[in-house]
Symmetry: C2
Subunit: 209 residues, 2 copies
């Protein structure tokens, strides 16, 4: 296998943390997103969507999303389980991870990409770019504190996002909390459930990656 990464970017970080939690040793190729390496023809041949992470399997199959990378590695390296242990847990992980991505991670991405000067004309990943929509950045800024309320509510009901075990739902939520600092939005002091959880997850060795 080969893993295409960018060590400073939040999107591949979700895959990177997962690989570290599994303890898998995969040769890693760094793609320099800041210099635009992902837009070059050489990388387009590896990923037509111009993004990382990418996982290349030994038969040449390439997975172009965190979802694909996680699924493959969970099935081929089941220990420790990061996507639930039985049908109910697996369903709760899928359900909550999707929620964390849709309401949290994408809201940060929309806020940043539609407001950062350096991302003018590149408000979406991929070859078409798209112009920034300032109202979309504003909407993201309105959504994020509400997402953190949701996160705090969930973590008032269970130790981790999908139950009493660490999972990919925690990975996406944790990366979202740290990514949100890029747009200067964070958990409030009142969100004590989420703070307790954040401190616990932050202490895992994989969180330093």
């Amino acid at each position: 296998m080969k893993f295409y990464d960018c060590s400073t970017a939040p999107s591949p970080r979700r895959a990177r943390i997962f690989i570290a939690e599994k303890g898998i040793d995969i040769p890693t190729i760094e793609v320099d997103l800041r210099s635009g390496e992902q837009m070059k023809p050489e990388f387009a041949a590896i990923n037509p969507y111009h993004t990382v992470p990418v996982l290349e399997l030994d038969d040449g199959t390439r997975l172009h999303s965190t979802q694909g990378v996680w699924r493959y590695l969970e099935d081929t390296h089941p220990e420790p389980p990061l996507m639930g242990r039985d049908a109910r847990e697996k369903a709760l992980v899928a359900d909550r991870e999707w929620r964390m991505e849709m309401e949290g991670f994408t809201a940060v991405g929309e806020t940043l990409r539609n407001s950062a000067k350096g991302m003018a004309g590149r408000a979406m990943t991929g070859k078409h770019g798209y112009e920034q929509i300032p109202e979309l950045a504003e909407r993201g800024r309105a959504r994020l504190p509400r997402f953190f309320e949701t996160l705090d509510r969930i973590l008032g009901e269970s130790e981790y996002v999908a139950g009493d075990f660490y999972s990919v739902a925690d990975i996406t939520a944790f990366v979202t909390v740290e990514f949100a600092r890029w747009v200067k939005i964070g958990l409030t002091d009142q969100q004590t459930n989420a703070k307790r959880w954040y401190d616990a997850v932050k202490g895992r060795p994989s969180s330093s990656l």
Copy 2:
């Protein structure tokens, strides 16, 4: 189990088709989205996100997303498999299904919700609503023909979206093609790979739901 549905809405349609393909008989409760039933306190107690689908398990656990519903039913009712048969297939299904949702299904939703008069002040699901952003509807209109190009390219390489077998990646892509009619965007006559696939999927009994 109990399944909360809305028979005219595209989001729960993805779960509805899946349930039909599996041949599972689940008591179904219709939620009238057009009259705003999803915003009432009775439904908020069932789903704080105010959306369908919802699957309620026999122990009371509720899954509030298509992803959660699919995962639970795939694991408890494995035949016929709709999320891949081995690690590589399962990864490709996860990868492609995510792509179909992010680049297709959400683009239709953004276009519709940010332009339809009846959705003013409700440009996102959930209790906060959000005002429409006309530029976001325009961006969706620009993205969708490019999504259909991607779909046609993928279907030039394999019979179905994730390989030689029907899967949830096809369900999301198929529902997206039909949902896009609501904003009057469709496959072009030149997209012969996607047309061939659409006709084949359209012929399945589950596609009439």
